[in-house]
Symmetry: C3
Subunit: 142 residues, 3 copies
């Protein structure tokens, strides 16, 4: 399988909360971390999502916000993964940041160059990747 989504995390569906139009799907990764996705209810049904099913979460690099100091604030973004900056690749306007999680997984995020400067992002800095449950695409093997 090949997609342009730089972040593809595999795990098992661990919970589903039903809604009228949208459902909330929780995927537990092998290291115990959880990714929460909001998908339309018809997707839950057509993909056969239910607890125990193997599934993966796709998160595009541009949908991720990076945080360097989370002390004292709480965000509505359901997904927040902590790690250490591995690499920063600056461009003309945007930069790509690679974050290494404790599990060893790498997360790619695209942020503006100004944010790189403002946050002091560089290799070795502790940072978190936050993304909304509604940004996550869920996939299953057919």
């Amino acid at each position: 399988m090949f997609t342009s989504a730089r972040n593809q995390l595999s795990g098992k569906v661990s919970a589903i909360q039903r809604g009228a139009v949208n459902d909330e799907v929780e995927i537990t990764l092998p290291d115990g971390q959880q990714v929460v996705a909001v998908v339309t209810h018809s997707s839950t049904e057509s993909l056969g999502l239910k607890p125990g099913v193997d599934a993966f979460a796709l998160i595009k690099a541009s949908w991720i916000i990076l945080l360097t100091d989370t002390a004292g604030i709480r965000l509505s973004a359901r997904n927040q993964l902590s790690g250490t900056v591995e690499k920063v690749t600056p461009g003309a306007v945007n930069a790509e940041v690679t974050l290494k999680l404790a599990s060893g997984d790498l997360i790619a995020a695209i942020v503006t160059n100004e944010s790189i400067t403002n946050l002091g992002l560089k290799a070795g800095v502790a940072a978190s990747a936050a993304f909304k449950a509604s940004s996550v695409i869920v996939g299953v093997k057919a």
Copy 2:
């Protein structure tokens, strides 16, 4: 009308599924393809959306994921349009990919350069553009 959303697809509302906060709006394009949008219920009401109404879907280029091999996987992204890569414009970090659909419509997507390499994206390659229903903005003429 002028917006920075590179993808603007016009059609007619063909179905609406009501929810408490969000509604799911289906727009059928002239070539029979459908685009599904999730919008807040108050937008459905203020725009007067109902079956038969002319409407358009706005999808920003950075909200699109490209897939080159969909065999064997299924995604929760409700919108998946198939086509052929027309052009790739690489930048320092991101690249712009133009996809030509069977209908002749062009879809622009922004992905990272690394995805261009990983997926082997270049003119002539078959690819699909996937985007979530929650990414789609619906518009009507006043």
Copy 3:
């Protein structure tokens, strides 16, 4: 607090509309403008969001669509802030546009270079920033 989200607007929660999975949260800014966010209901509860609570809205620059001519159209995007282009920084594929609102607040948006040309975006041009309620991340101080 440090995040890579270029747009951070502070205000007070002025209304909450409950749903089964998602809630709609309205934040009123000091100048009277409102930002609407859709967050999962569990976030509303864990953040203690209710009318009167201080909160801020985070909107990433790449989640914003710019409009230069809104006469004659209406969009489902719940958030539309009007202003004047302050600065355009072009890159290889994307450009960063800074919009100054009547309140004096600055909004940063990332759009493709082609949109800069199509819309004729340059300092002094009137433009609006549109973004979906589902794109907004809500935060509170702990």
